[in-house]
């Protein structure tokens, strides 16, 4: 009997030890299966979201953002405007680069100056276009002169990756991709990378921030959804991002995985073309007409009222979304918390259409993407059915983004739906591009292809762009949101949610609204 106890005891001990050992071994390496990766290890190469997401591990930014895109100190501990066109940034002291050198204001200046020299197809200069000159005031103080008052400069600097000035102005993609020039101050050091392949990182013990639990991080790029899910289920990776809605339904019943859901910054918005004539004409009783019914606010309102947003979320998106009443979360800077939820009222929609002179509705072509955001194609089809109930004949065309975006840019669509994410967390980014009158001189309305133009909105946006006082600017943008949404310049439908999945009980993933998956924010579950 005693013998048995002993045997049992040692067995238990062995089991416990084994679990502990396995646990600690796996806790050293974090393997992530992610949908997209960087195009280069040069952090000044591209503005792509997946590029920033990957390179944040190696390089720090001057200003950082929390999980809701609020600004927080990064390599700059504080910032304030010292006059209308100068921002002062205090640089964090005692920060070490991976090569052991110390971070100073010179490195930050070098990074700002370097961006226009090296930038690639998705130009990073959008983050420095307001900068006239960066001046080193002292070792830890940087003065940034701007061309005009630039209240959003700290928001732009969320993407200002700081590289060591020691890499020199000549270093290009090759030097970064090989790791020679990939010297940052981030929590992880570069080990290896191949385009569209694995990015391997190693913990940097001299990191200025919190000590990291992972000795090694492997970032595997697996763009195909089924392949990524299979990699998680077969244990090849510890976590995956962008779980499709259909897999999410199954995973909730699966005992071997944990799922994590978060609101994203991405909204699916309808855009009615309100120009004099439509590129694809509307048909009434099978005959093309020259008038553009979408110019009539009643018609736009009718189309809005005919959308059952709750059903879109519950049925089409499997619950992974929220009904939207503006183009970004109301909690963002300039979002309007007083706007009501958009009602679903079919009777009123029909009435409005009749009032506008279309008692029997009309026929219109409707375009959207089918591969940019989860559920975009499905929402598109559901919408055309919802409008059918209001008496409209809507021909939905779900296109690949490769075909959709060039055609949209050329102004070939009458009515379209596409995704938009307010990645800077404030209103001028979205409303300045989408609802301001298209004005190349001012650089505003670059994505306003629908011809919407409201002098009141334009005035408010332009005033906001030069108002340094935060509360005042916030009030101006809130007004922009209210006016343009009531005008139905664009019609928001749903806010998309993102899903991550990980092996059961292993990880704690704090969900981020910008959908980024950052190893240094992921902790082993204890």
């Amino acid at each position: 009997m005693k013998q048995n106890f002993k045997l049992g005891g040692s067995l238990v001990a062995a089991l416990v030890l084994g679990t502990v050992l396995c646990g600690s071994v796996s806790a050293q390496t974090l393997t992530m299966g992610l949908r997209a990766g960087p195009d280069s290890i040069d952090p000044h190469w591209s503005t792509l979201g997946s590029q920033a997401e990957a390179l944040r591990h190696i390089f720090d930014t001057l200003v950082m953002s929390d999980e809701n895109l609020g600004l927080k100190p990064g390599l700059a501990t504080s910032w304030k405007p010292i006059d209308d066109t100068t921002w002062e940034f205090k640089i964090r002291e005692g920060v070490k680069f991976h090569d052991g050198s110390e971070l100073t204001a010179e490195d930050v200046k070098f990074s700002i100056d370097r961006i226009p020299v090296v930038t690639g197809p998705m130009s990073m200069t959008i983050y420095t276009k307001q900068v006239a000159e960066a001046k080193v005031a002292d070792k830890y103080t940087l003065h940034v002169k701007t061309k005009a008052p630039a209240p959003t400069l700290p928001n732009d600097f969320i993407r200002l990756f700081v590289v060591s000035k020691n890499v020199g102005m000549e270093a290009r993609n090759e030097q970064f991709n090989s790791g020679k020039a990939a010297i940052g101050t981030g929590p992880y050091k570069f080990v290896s990378w191949e385009p569209k392949g694995d990015l391997v990182l190693e913990r940097f013990d001299g990191y200025w921030g919190e000590k990291q639990p992972w000795q090694k991080v492997v970032r595997k790029e697996i763009p195909s959804d089924p392949a990524r899910m299979a990699a998680l289920k077969s244990g090849q990776v510890d976590l995956v991002n962008y779980v499709p809605a259909t897999d999410y339904a199954a995973m909730q019943k699966d005992k071997s995985v944990d799922t994590f859901v978060a609101d994203s910054v991405y909204f699916l918005n309808l855009t009615p073309n309100v120009k004099e004539t439509l590129p694809r004409k509307v048909k009434v009783d099978g005959k093309e007409i020259d008038a553009n019914p979408l110019r009539d606010p009643k018609v736009r309102e009718a189309m809005d009222l005919a959308i059952d947003r709750k059903t879109l979320v519950r049925v089409v998106l499997e619950g992974l979304g929220r009904p939207a009443n503006q183009l970004m979360p109301a909690s963002f800077f300039g979002g309007n918390k007083n706007l009501p939820e958009r009602p679903y009222d079919l009777a009123k929609a029909k009435q409005l259409l009749a009032d506008a002179g279309y008692p029997k509705g009309f026929e219109i072509d409707f375009h959207c993407t089918n591969n940019r955001l989860p559920g975009d194609g499905a929402v598109c089809e559901a919408l055309s059915q919802m409008w059918a109930r209001a008496g409209l004949k809507v021909n939905a065309n779900a296109l690949n983004g490769t075909v959709f975006f060039p055609a949209q840019q050329k102004g070939e669509f009458s009515l379209w739906m596409s995704g938009w994410g307010t990645l800077t967390g404030e209103a001028s980014y979205t409303y300045g591009s989408l609802v301001h009158t298209a004005d190349p001189q001012l650089g505003l309305g670059a994505f306003n292809k629908q011809g919407y133009s409201n002098p009141e909105v334009d005035k408010l946006l332009e005033e906001g762009a030069r108002t340094m006082d935060d509360p005042k600017r916030r009030a101006l943008f809130e007004k922009v949101t209210e006016v343009s949404m009531n005008d139905r310049a664009l019609i928001p439908t749903v806010q998309i949610q993102t899903v991550w999945a990980a092996k059961k009980g292993m990880l704690a993933i704090p969900p981020r609204v910008d959908q980024e998956t950052l190893a240094y924010e992921i902790k082993p579950k204890s």
Binding site: T125, N173, P195, A227, G235, V403, F405, P440, A446
Partner: protein, 324 residues
């Protein structure tokens, strides 16, 4: 022989030119790559500047001539996305596709020819019927679906093989290969089998048809009458006489496997050329698309050339014809 080679090279050039025009027209019709790549925060001035920098504001024929004159200097251009020379980019993916395609061809040949011989030799047997049923499955079931099933069964449920990706590689002869290690093989086996399936079905049916036809011919009867053993009859006379169509199909299939392993590479996340071309198409990375297709044309021409040369070895009558 020299005349034959020159004729082939000229043919290849014509196809390359035609191909590059078609691709240019196609991408131009879809639209401006900048519109797919551009960041929403950018303004009109930035868009114009980018379009100019990439030469996309020029008329199509000028863009085409710039590209062609660069190509004549051996420069296929730089990727819009990576700003790396396209040739280097494609070459860095080539070993992965090559070893996948060769492994698949090996599986298809080593299984397909014996199975096909058997099915043609004993057409009435139950085993032959089973082989034929399998061959029909091999080329009628879509390969992405089989791929997903293979992953579900052998990676997710049984856990025998990894579900995708390419394992550790070693540097051999200037290429990174994974077939040098056991772990590397565990990564290649599922995608290679998936890729082999179609060719396997094809080779089985081809070999069987040939065998069935040849078995009733005079020289097989004479060979038997000579007292040759059955294995000699089948292995020597039959196999040699049915080998011409097999070599043709093998050559063409090797070419198409190398060039278009797209589906398998996507399903298994295999970092080869097929995945590169799909990734490039989704962002309209024109230099990569054009260069890739031109290389594919070149590859096919080369393979056909080799196939023709092998014919000569297999059947002296063809050699005589070519010489005359």
């Amino acid at each position: 022989m020299i005349g034959f080679l020159i004729q082939r090279v000229l043919q290849a050039l014509m196809v390359v030119i035609a191909m590059s025009i078609i691709v240019f027209l196609g991408v131009y019709a879809i639209g401006n790559p900048i519109d797919v790549m551009i960041d929403p925060a950018s303004d009109q001035a930035l868009r114009e500047a980018l379009i100019q920098r990439y030469g996309l504001d020029l008329p199509l024929y000028e863009q085409y001539f710039v590209f062609m004159s660069n190509m004549l200097h051996g420069d296929l251009g730089e990727s819009f996305i990576y700003r790396l020379p396209v040739l280097n980019l494609i070459w860095s993916r080539f070993p992965a596709t090559l070893e996948l395609a060769l492994t698949a061809m090996l599986i298809a040949t080593c299984l397909g020819i014996p199975l096909g011989l058997w099915a043609g030799y004993k057409p009435e047997s139950l085993s032959a019927k089973a082989i034929m049923a399998f061959s029909v499955l091999g080329f009628s079931v879509p390969s992405f679906w089989v791929g997903l099933l293979l992953i579900m069964a052998f990676a997710v449920e049984l856990g025998w093989f990894p579900s995708g990706g390419r394992g550790p590689t070693t540097h051999v002869l200037g290429m990174n290969l994974s077939i040098t290690s056991l772990e590397g093989w565990s990564y290649i086996i599922l995608p290679a089998f998936n890729l082999a399936l179609f060719k396997l079905g094809l080779l089985i049916r081809l070999t069987r048809a040939g065998t069935a036809e040849v078995m009733s011919s005079d020289y097989v009867r004479f060979a038997r009458a000579q007292g040759l053993s059955e294995s000699k009859v089948v292995g020597l006379h039959v196999l040699k006489n049915i080998s011409i169509p097999i070599v043709t199909v093998f050559g063409l299939e090797l070419g198409s496997t190398l060039a278009f392993a797209v589906v398998t590479e996507t399903v298994f996340n295999w970092p080869g050329m097929g995945k590169l071309i799909i990734d490039s198409i989704t962002v309209l990375d024109r230099p990569v698309m054009v260069a890739y297709l031109i290389l594919v044309v070149f590859l096919f021409v080369m393979i056909n050339l080799v196939v023709d040369l092998v014919y000569g070895q297999l059947d002296p009558r063809i050699r005589v014809k070519a010489a005359s």
